[in-house]
């Protein structure tokens, strides 16, 4: 099969369909990576916000923010495996 034949073959419907899903997979992975960055920012912001008023009990928010980051990491890894 010549390179030209291979190119024509790649334009067939099935291949095009799978290309779309590959594209969506990349979008998903980029989205989850951005979400991971957001989860890190949340932890930092909770820390900064907590420093403005000392003495406020913010430990539930800190636990929630760290759990959120952990879940975001796991989901990012899951997206790499599942998709």
């Amino acid at each position: 099969m010549t390179p030209f034949d291979q190119f024509i073959h790649s334009l067939s419907l099935n291949s095009f369909d799978s290309l779309i899903w590959v594209f969506i997979k990349i979008l998903f992975v980029i989205g989850f990576a951005l979400y991971l960055a957001f989860a890190v920012i949340v932890i930092r912001q909770v820390k900064i916000m907590g420093e403005v008023i000392e003495g406020l009990s913010i430990w539930p928010l800190r636990i929630l923010a760290w759990t959120h980051l952990l879940v975001a990491i796991l989901i990012f890894l899951l997206s790499l495996i599942v998709l």
Binding site: I24, K25, Y35, V42, M49, I53, L61, I75, L78
Partner: protein, 210 residues
């Protein structure tokens, strides 16, 4: 020469002491500073980051908790939406893995929305100290806006309560006009706006001086 009569020294009453026998003390006892508190009088356990050693926090305010109702309803709707979508429409043309990860992404974004709204409410506080009035605002997770003015710079103070829910739950806005570079401070939707005005007026007239 021994003194025949020594006039007892008049105690310099601070607002903290004055409030012990006042109705405000009842409010402070009824509303101690807890995790979800929107009104706390004389919260001794907290401290502002630039608080002076001779400065005391008299009032700690947040927007009334009921103001969170809007985003709470939106969050519940966003949470329930996939259940309706999956029960009323067939999404079988989407591979199972993508449906699964899409659902997870949806709930992550829903959680992010709710969490961001909550911490924005939680950390946006108004503080009245014996020397200053501070408005700490976090409009979103990436923005921090702190405005403050000294008590002696306050020119006028007014409270505004309007609408059914605000009247029933007794919360409203407190507008503070100042002579400083900052023209106005606004405590939005705080509980007991008339009490807040009363306390700030006391501080302005010197009753609250420690």
């Amino acid at each position: 020469m021994p003194d025949i009569f020594v006039r007892p020294q008049k105690e310099n009453k601070s607002l903290v002491e004055v409030s012990l026998d006042s109705p405000l003390e009842k409010i402070s006892l009824k509303h101690p500073l807890k995790f979800f508190s929107a009104f706390a009088l004389n919260p001794h356990q907290i401290r502002y980051e630039t608080q002076e050693s001779d400065e005391k926090i008299v009032l700690f305010l947040r927007r009334h908790f009921i103001t969170n109702l809007g985003w709470l309803i939106v969050s519940v709707c966003l949470f329930l939406l996939p259940l309706f979508v999956f029960s009323f429409s067939s999404l079988s043309f989407i591979p199972y893995a993508f449906r699964f990860m899409g659902l997870i992404a949806w709930y992550l974004l829903t959680f992010a929305f709710a969490f961001e709204r909550f911490i924005s409410w939680f950390f946006s506080v108004d503080i009245v100290t014996t020397q200053r009035i501070i408005d700490v605002s976090f409009p979103s997770i990436l923005y921090k806006d702190i405005s403050e003015t000294k008590i002696e710079h306050i020119q006028d103070i007014s409270s505004k309560t309007g609408g059914f829910i605000r009247s029933v739950l007794n919360y409203g806005d407190v507008l503070i006009q100042t002579a400083g570079t900052l023209p106005e401070l606004n405590f939005e939707a705080v509980p007991f706006p008339s009490k807040v005005t009363e306390i700030i007026n006391d501080l302005m007239s010197g009753k609250g001086e420690v």
